[in-house]
Symmetry: C2
Subunit: 160 residues, 2 copies
């Protein structure tokens, strides 16, 4: 683990303490271990992969706890959840390029058509990825839910 990662992990742990205090959540060994593992890796692990990585190190850690703790972290804005292609899928017949907006509350998906989104500049980055296609995913509240729901989660995107 390089120095940069160590600093990142330390900062995450600090932030967790702060958020837990604010929301009156306990600082358990499991939460610490899970956050430490997640923050120190560069891949995008599933709950089960995190469980596999630390089950030896935390006495009697259960898979259930990993699932629950990760969900808590997402609520606290300490982690993000991204979806995986092997997952439960939705389908659509429209195969032209277009984009989606997903409601954080009711999980409705709406299509977005936009020339400007279709033509964004694709950055040629260092990963040597051979890009075939792309799409933009928006998250937020749909027109039905925006009036009903005050606040969906506690995250404060953009910092730390």
């Amino acid at each position: 683990m390089d120095e940069k990662t160590e600093i990142f992990v330390a900062e995450k742990l600090r932030l967790m303490k702060e958020r837990c205090r604010i929301h009156k959540l306990s600082l358990t060994a499991q939460r610490r271990a899970i956050l430490e593992n997640l923050a120190s890796r560069k891949d995008h692990p599933t709950a089960d992969q995190i469980y596999g990585a630390i089950q030896g190190r935390v006495n009697g850690l259960s898979r259930t706890t990993v699932y629950r703790v990760l969900e808590t972290f997402v609520q606290l804005g300490l982690a993000s959840k991204i979806c995986s292609p092997e997952a439960k899928s939705r389908f659509e017949a429209d195969t032209k390029r277009h984009h989606h907006a997903v409601c954080n509350h009711c999980e409705a998906v709406v299509d977005i058509y936009s020339d400007s989104l279709d033509n964004i500049d694709i950055p040629v980055d260092g990963t040597c990825f051979d890009i075939h296609d792309f799409s933009v995913s928006f998250t937020g509240l749909c027109s039905n839910c925006r009036d009903t729901v005050k606040r969906v989660h506690i995250s404060d995107k953009g910092e730390a």
Copy 2:
């Protein structure tokens, strides 16, 4: 079903016949019914929702077939698969805005950081969606797989 949808469905069916002929796949009643249902709806149904919608209309249709046929459609470029928030999830500790590239072959996920992507113009469209955040998802081949794999699937994005 309005006229525009009817035309879309008819065109999809035509395309299916063509693709099936090219790849020597059978034109079964199930495939027709599933494509017809998928193409005529504006939502983003799960396999199960499609099954529920047409199980009465096709004699003895099985859930398994719906799963298999949808997968075939994706391979043929007749449908797209999008991931759903209720699905198998991956997590990451980085909650700053960034983007992802997912390998079509090994399903690896790599992070992409780019100021230009972070600042794309968000179209103010007619859906009244209250957008909280967004990210861009790229699909293609990662640096490992690009050399190994010739062609991942048969889709030809951009037409039809």
